[in-house]
Symmetry: C2
Subunit: 240 residues, 2 copies
Amino acid sequence: MNTIEVCFTPALYQHILTEPPFSVAVVDILRATTSICSAFQNQVKEIIPVATTEEAMEYKTQGSLIAAERNGIKLDFADFGNSPDNFMTEQVRGRSIVYSTTNGTQTIKMVNNGSPVVIASFINLSAAAYFLASQNQNAVILCAGWKQKFNLEDSLFAGALTQKLLDLGMEMNCDAAQAALDLWNSARENPIAYIQKAMHRERLKKLNLDSILEYCFTPDQTDVVPVFDGFRILNKTNHE
Amino acid sequence: MNTIEVCFTPALYQHILTEPPFSVAVVDILRATTSICSAFQNQVKEIIPVATTEEAMEYKTQGSLIAAERNGIKLDFADFGNSPDNFMTEQVRGRSIVYSTTNGTQTIKMVNNGSPVVIASFINLSAAAYFLASQNQNAVILCAGWKQKFNLEDSLFAGALTQKLLDLGMEMNCDAAQAALDLWNSARENPIAYIQKAMHRERLKKLNLDSILEYCFTPDQTDVVPVFDGFRILNKTNHE
């Protein structure tokens, strides 16, 4: 049976149990992976994640559309920041976007083992789960966290995705998956209320989440399957 | 108000938010910190944690009593292994024990910032909490985990200790403390049943836990406060 491992922060990725080959789901609910799914829902052509501000600025001089933030704040030279509502417009249709964020895009960039890396969020939860299960190999759910630390929203999603993968016949191979699942089970009746427990903390205050919170925690709003190939992210939705 | 931060594995310790000075509680429920508390309950004189097998062997040649295991198995040259029942005998009274384990003692050794480091477990839960609160500074709960990974039993205890510290007027400063608390609240009615969910996994099968599980998860069996001073662990129980 294929296994599910949850990695709560990028700092723990080097210590995972699962041996290659495996598939990866990268998770940054607030907000990179939600925003990427939103962009593909709005028919962006491709997204190129870059780790540093310098790389993003270089693409800017080449005429690309740039989405970039640090610590929740849009960078001056960028066309827009990291909020999903920036990606929900006609402006993105058919375009290439270069994207750089505090946690999310750096986490996507660090995973490059030749296996599929799917961009996962509540808005494409079932689509991401079906994609992972259809790879017929072990899966690692990698939470972007916050500056290498555990965060609630990504861990909660890891639990929701674990539940979907269990339903699709996979099994957990680590305590972190069990803990994520238990957190999800205690929060699933009202995930927004649950996440609001974390919202008085400084990092989330800065994000101006009021307008997008419901969007970010509502499952299955789209069937996009954004997959990172080591350079760019493309939509691999299977409409057969 | 003094804060509580939870660090789920030693690999995350370098990323903590809390700035010095702070107190630390080191947690390795199965089994190092439970065993250390048990030894002090049985009036051991001192415990000297060492990180490597080589150091432990060197102390052996000097005539010390040695407790040492790797991956749950007692090492050949050691007088005993890592199970709390080894430390519950007359044999330890008044003695010095040199102690080396897979996760626990190495985690104790890595914390050396000049502030108090208390050895915490369910069996001395309240005593450890009172000690931390009485330091009147921020506290970090450092879980030994399993080979740098998250584990359920240490995280569950982190939640129980967080609850005690909240009751004593401290406040959480991170999502990991919130998650640990939520796990504890979902498990507190029957922590042993909860932890048995993890017990079919390989790492716990090796530990032969049947005889000690209830002991390891029963709160407040002793008021010992083992404190590490950078070299040795001594009991700082205040009997005023």
